[in-house]
Subunit: 190 residues, 2 copies
DNA sequence: ATTATCTATAGATCTATAGATAATGC
DNA sequence: ATTATCTATAGATCTATAGATAATGC
């Protein structure tokens, strides 16, 4: 007990990191503040010296999880790489370290207004990123293609995590990936 | 108190109907058994004379919600109608009466094994249905197209419910719908 | 006698708060 | 003196069970 202000900042950061991982794995209601605190190496009593409410942790954890997505988008500069990595079995099996837009998609319709606002802002950035990575097309504008592609990617990663049949799970990832690649790789040819 | 066996069957059906609606609106963890019972016009104490566990209610409610989807697919026989109805603001705003594959997508990765099995079986039927409604294509097989289309539809309806920005919500529905229609309407031309 | 439903509650959560403890930092 | 963290707990859930009540159905 009795820690410095620097220690508090480090504790705070550890709490948010644990939450950013566990919320993606278990959902926004899937873990309580006591368990998050314990995993961060502290006890539950200190929680409200760090956050005014549980929802404040949710919002900070979302922002942190989206920073992982920032870094991933920075390193991923072609359409093929984007799709092969996003719609992979490795990504499917590691939601805690993966895309928070995908992992928390189904939680957002029922999330707090503040959490939805953070999600919405980050989705807009990803739509702009995806628009930029698409090749120019003669028939349909890239913004519309980015929306279709984002819907399909988020839908497919969730479906691949939802089904009990491993063959179907793999088929969903592979076919969505292959269809999107062939669709936009030859976009000019349309 | 003191009701007939027929009354019990009707009570049972009412409980499952309430759950099928509320689970789609609020998520599988979004409402407790006491509130479901109260909405069905009975009290919580009788619950375990109807179900061995809460999860048994979840499984029955899923099956009932999927019957709504059966009926909808039976009445919907063209690709354009399918997409215009599914990716509409009316469907977005009425999850309790809408597609359970969409409403519960994000809950399934963390649901019980029995619930996931019911979801998986119904998804397979919808993939077969969607495959059948697609026009023949020269370049890619219809099964693969059905997977992409289903991923995009489920992703888009969830995104449209997730965002706080009404314009973006509407844009996601409209662009996903228009892109999919133009993609498969002219599939033969590829 | 059996049973469908009721009231009441045990026991296990979970969020939030109160007050103690042991450091930091003026 | 202030504060970061601790132990302990209040109060509000939620699932599941116990036992009472008032009908049904042999």
């Amino acid at each position: 007990m009795g820690s410095s202000k620097r220690d508090k900042a480090e504790t705070h950061s550890r709490i948010v990191r644990v939450a950013a991982k566990r919320f993606r794995e278990l959902g926004l209601e899937g873990i309580g503040v006591a368990d998050v605190m314990r995993e961060a190496g502290v006890t539950v009593g200190g929680f409200y010296k760090h956050f005014n409410s549980r929802d404040e942790l949710v919002v900070e954890a979302l922002a942190t999880a989206f920073q992982d997505l920032d870094r991933w988008e920075e390193r991923t500069n072609t359409l093929t790489k984007l799709l092969e990595q996003y719609l992979s079995e490795a990504h499917r099996d590691a939601p805690g370290a993966g895309c928070a837009l995908g992992a928390l998609l189904g939680d957002m319709p029922r999330a707090s207004r503040s959490a939805k606002a953070v999600y919405t802002a980050r989705l807009k950035r990803s739509l702009a990123y995806t628009t930029g990575i698409l090749p120019p097309s003669g028939t349909s504008d890239r913004r519309a293609s980015a929306i279709l592609m984002t819907s399909a990617m988020l839908g497919a990663i969730n479906l691949s995590r939802a089904v009990t049949d491993p063959d179907l799970s793999q088929e969903i990832l592979q076919q969505t990936r292959d269809q999107l690649i062939s669709l936009y790789k030859f976009a000019k040819a349309h």
